[in-house]
């Protein structure tokens, strides 16, 4: 009897700790979402109120009416196109690295080290180059930079996923008279579909959330949502309604993506080192 009691007590304690921990990590998210539904009066109430009187979408409507929501569209265009490009180029490269050991470990290590160079050191010369080419504040410039920025990640992750596929399948396909392109297209890609999908979503999220490159390389035409959020911080007063609503617009797609990323989360954020 006592043993059972003790176990129940332990479980209850652990559960309480789990709830408290989760509440701590979710509270700021709640606060952000909640503010986006508040009216100005509710936001500037003192002491702060913890829930809005009603769910009103006025703050979002304003974003669309003022044209600020274009920033979300810009993020979408830049993140999607650059993800597509990086996936195509990166997966082909990854296949060669995984199967032919092209360039050996040196090339692979060089590729992943490119991911770790601080963006500030790269963006400075890139800015001067783009200024020269007239690419500042254009889709082309942003898409190319994000493609290049995400390429090492795609190559590295897809290399791992391709290494997980048994070679024998490809050998059999070659025996049956498939060309090498057909092997990639009909055997390799279908086999690592899950990996492709997970990597694409991660790549999209990285591009979607990126700030520093966008801060330096956009002005008015292709401003992304992350930069747009910072525009609402004023010296004296902040546009709280807009900060919150724009942040939520930018965060919702990522939360939706997480649902699909769940199984690949650990592998995705550990650069493939942990195959959780």
């Amino acid at each position: 009897m006592r043993a059972i009691h003790k176990r129940q007590l332990r479980m209850a304690l652990r559960l309480t700790a789990a709830v408290v921990t989760t509440a701590f990590f979710l509270f700021p998210v709640y606060w952000l979402f909640m503010i986006s539904f508040k009216t100005a009066d509710e936001i500037y109430a003192f002491p702060p109120v913890w829930w809005p009187a009603s769910l009103q979408f006025g703050n979002y409507l304003v974003l669309f009416k003022d044209g600020d929501a274009t920033a979300v569209w810009n993020s979408l265009v830049i993140a999607s196109v650059s993800t597509l490009l990086a996936m195509v180029l990166g997966t082909l490269c990854a296949y060669s690295l995984a199967r032919y050991k092209t360039g050996g470990d040196h090339l692979s290590n060089w590729v992943i080290s490119q991911r770790m160079v601080p963006p500030i050191a790269v963006v400075f010369p890139i800015f001067l180059l783009y200024a020269f080419l007239g690419w500042v504040d254009t889709y082309v410039g942003m898409i190319l930079l994000y493609t290049a920025f995400n390429l090492p990640y795609v190559i590295w992750m897809m290399r791992g996923y391709i290494q997980d596929i048994p070679r024998s399948l490809e050998e059999a396909a070659l025996m049956d008279g498939c060309t090498r392109w057909q092997v990639i297209w009909k055997v390799v890609l279908p086999m690592c579909r899950a990996g492709l999908f997970a990597t694409a979503i991660f790549t999209f999220v990285f591009a979607w959330n990126e700030f520093l490159f966008a801060l330096v390389l956009t002005r008015t035409e292709v401003v992304t949502y992350t930069v747009q959020v910072t525009h609402y911080f004023g010296g004296q007063s902040n546009f709280w309604t807009k900060i919150a609503a724009m942040s939520v617009l930018g965060t919702l797609p990522v939360f939706v993506a997480v649902v699909f990323m769940q199984r690949y989360m650990v592998r995705g954020i550990s650069l493939g080192a942990v195959k959780g």
Partner: protein
Amino acid sequence: MPHAQSGPQDRYFRHLLVAPSILVLLLVAVFPLIYLILVSFQGITMTDNDTRFIGFVNYLHLLEDRRMWEAVLHTLMFLLIALPLELILGLFMAQLFLDQLPGRQVFIALLVLPVVISPIVAGATWSLMFDDRFGPINQILGWIAGHDVHLLWTIKPELVYSAILVAEVWQWTPFMFLLLLAALANVDKSQQEAAAIDGAGYWQIFFKIVLPSIWPVMAIALMIRALDLFRLFDIVWALTKGGPGTMTETLSIFTYNQGFKQFETSYTAAVALVIIILLTAALLWTLRRVELSR
């Protein structure tokens, strides 16, 4: 295939696959490098487009630039405080969620959320949280203290570091947690049980059995986070923009200010180049010790 028959046709094919990616990477890796080297030896500033080569002037200036060294110091401070905090908190959380618990998967799914939020949004969120009048932090502190609290979290020199650290640790502890949870789940239970029967205590088991077996994952998690903290920008930008004054300027923010606020083109090039060189050295050193690929 590949290995069995590695003919000239194969060699062509495999290089064809690699070529476009490597070309793109070389463009963004090698071009900036050459450009930085060139410009860093010139004397270009906002007012003076002096393209004559002036030798190591910028590098000498860098050595005695107090503001830069302070930025280095701030960066290291954030790194040295945030990294252990994230590790320890992450480890505690991983222990908490390791065994069966009602709704375990739901908890874990929810705890992931901070990691995927854009750091700039995370910073913005915390600046709303830390607002002296309309934020909940001062309100909660007020409840505890029993009177109204009006702490200026993002303005007062003695408070800004805590504010930034809270936001940073909030966003990335779940990252540590997830990786350590995966690592802990793979630790061989029977070994721990055997040790417990032999009379080993909790900490003994942890340090002698658990820690060595989760170390490879832990090392990778630490490496990834250390590299991220080294280039810390977004959260600080959203909360303080490096202020008050230059109090919370990190190396990245300092470089940004030099390049895009003061337009010290040549000097910024020198700083950026030094950052790349230092980081590459650190990275090569670590990569040789950490097994990132299997």
